[in-house]
Amino acid sequence: MKLARFTFRKATAAILTIFIILSVNFVIFRMAPGDPVRMMFKDPRVSAKQLELQREKFGLDKPLGGQFLAYLNQLAHGDLGISFWQKRPVTEVIAQRIPNTLILVLTALAMSTILGIILGALAGWVSGTKLDTFILSASITLYSIPAFAMGIILLLVFSYYISVFPLGGIVTPASGYTGFAYIGDVLWHMCLPAFSIILWYIGEYVILTRSSMLDVLGQDYITTARAKGIKESRVLRKHALRNALLPVITLTGINVGFAVAGVIEAETVFSWPGVGKLIYDAVSKRDYPLLQGVFLVFAVSVVLANLIIDLIYGFVDPRIRVGTQ
């Protein structure tokens, strides 16, 4: 019963958030200075009457409330408007890019979580030693280097100066690869962009796991386990790490929104044809419908990811269900 109520409350909150995001998205683009129709038809020879007709066509002559309802109605039909730049439906443009972004994000996040937890647990376990200081300061430093700066450094070093990795993109152009050769080529292109996200993102996990590990190591049950004569490696794995991981997992959810930044930066530097690169193109082409669409996709997917992670925790750890009441 409690689980059902928890699920219901979280889902309602997520729906409400998405609704607010829709409204914010609507309002921000209405705030834009200038006349959208004038921007589409920059030619001074377009007559006032034609502009009026265009305004009518796009529903811009209606009051804002009516425009908002029309906007919601369009969204419900999966219609995000037409991209100024690509002259194609925004939904189509974005949908094409989503798989590319997903491969990159999931790989980078999985790798940084796993490596970060291992390094953080190690640093916590040997806290106070030189190794610990090294891991901690390296993490803080890497974490402070923006993913695009790291990306440019990696690109210059490993693609221009020592040509071991491709310069960008997702496949070798006109290579005609199929099957495993194609997958291998994509993975090859993904190395540097994924690496620049991992290096930036791993620090957070190291720092968190380490401090959580330090908390746990001070607990009585660790002393008890050691007193019982259990091997150190077993105390680390079974007693300490397991409990130290809980707060780390909780933070993964909060961080999804944050990780989007790394994806946008890495995709831009390495011309990775994903949704993040699309937001960059939309900005440089001043393509507002596309920009609005990409923002919506990012915001909604982050809210949904948060919801899913929240529900999983609520299911796994009963304390969370009680704690949020």
Partner: protein, 289 residues
């Protein structure tokens, strides 16, 4: 007042005793010196474009760090860029910490509806992908230094408000607040006189965090082409170099801004970590201070 200054001096000494704090302060110090002394460091007008013969020159006695694709002096751009970073960092930190503290203080002190609304707003902001939101706001408002400061501030104040609120919640239950109320102190006097002083260390830590985040955000937004082109920041330089397509052959153009961005953000991150270590009571006990 003397006690406050003594406390501050004590804090500074502890901070300098911390390795990370020392390195952080040195890095930030270098940037502040560059920002303050910019006109005296052998610079020319960083916006001044050169003739065709001045384009993409390698470093020389005349152009210490060479020139960019419009013949502008890279050394001058790098030095003047420090002013933009520091301005954005300090102004944004001031705006967000003052507004965040005020809102957090009121929400934590009064509770009820105000608190409920604040918690909801903060939760909402925590859930949003921050960078895309900044990108659309900056794109719609147009590229200018003050718009960037506005955009970063609007999105960053809830963090401070949340931290301050939870501190206020624990402070307002303390006996001396109760005592002050008993001798007739009003709400405003309680908030400013009794509770605020206990929030000050936290505000300090938040300010450093906000400076870091603001400088980082400006660098990313400018790199993505949303920066103020009339005031060339390090992020803008990277944008121009990246877009020019010749960055691989002009390391003097792309290297310095990357180095500076890393230096300033690492500096503030180290300082921030050191400050939270020092403010954390456990740290002093551990070091036996």
């Amino acid at each position: 007042m003397t006690t406050f200054w003594e406390k501050f001096k004590d804090f500074l000494v502890t901070l300098l005793g911390n390795g990370m704090g020392r390195i952080g302060l040195i890095l930030i110090g270098l940037i502040i010196i560059a920002a303050l002394l910019a006109p005296f460091l052998g610079t020319v007008n960083p916006q001044k474009a050169g003739k065709a013969a001045d384009i993409l020159l390698a470093p020389s006695a005349q152009h210490w760090l060479g020139t960019d694709d419009l013949g502008r002096d890279v050394w001058s751009q790098v030095i003047f860029g420090s002013r933009i970073s520091m301005t954005i960092g300090l102004v944004t930190a001031l705006l967000t910490v003052v507004s965040g503290t005020l809102i957090g203080l009121i929400a934590g002190f009064y509770g009820g509806m105000v608190e409920e609304v604040l918690v909801r707003v903060v939760d909402f902001f925590m859930m949003l992908p921050v960078l895309p939101l900044m990108i659309i706001l900056a794109a719609v408002l147009g590229p200018s230094l003050w718009n960037i400061i506005f955009v970063i501030s609007v999105i960053s104040w809830p963090t401070t408000a949340r931290v301050v609120r939870s501190q206020v919640l624990s402070v307002k239950e303390r006996p001396y607040v109760e005592a002050s109320r008993c001798i007739g102190a009003g709400n405003v006097k309680l908030m400013l006189g009794e509770i605020l002083p206990n929030v000050v260390p936290l505000m300090f830590a938040q300010a450093v965090l906000m400076i870091t985040e603001a400088i980082y955000s400006e660098a990313v937004l400018s790199f993505l082409g949303l920066g103020d082109v009339t005031r060339i920041s390090w992020g803008c330089m990277l944008h121009f170099a990246f877009e020019s397509g010749v960055m691989a052959t002009t390391p003097w153009w792309i290297g310095p801004p990357i180095g500076c961005i890393i230096m300033v953000i690492v500096g503030f991150s180290l300082l921030g970590t050191a400050i939270s270590d020092v403010l954390n009571p456990g740290y002093r006990e551990m070091k036996g201070i």
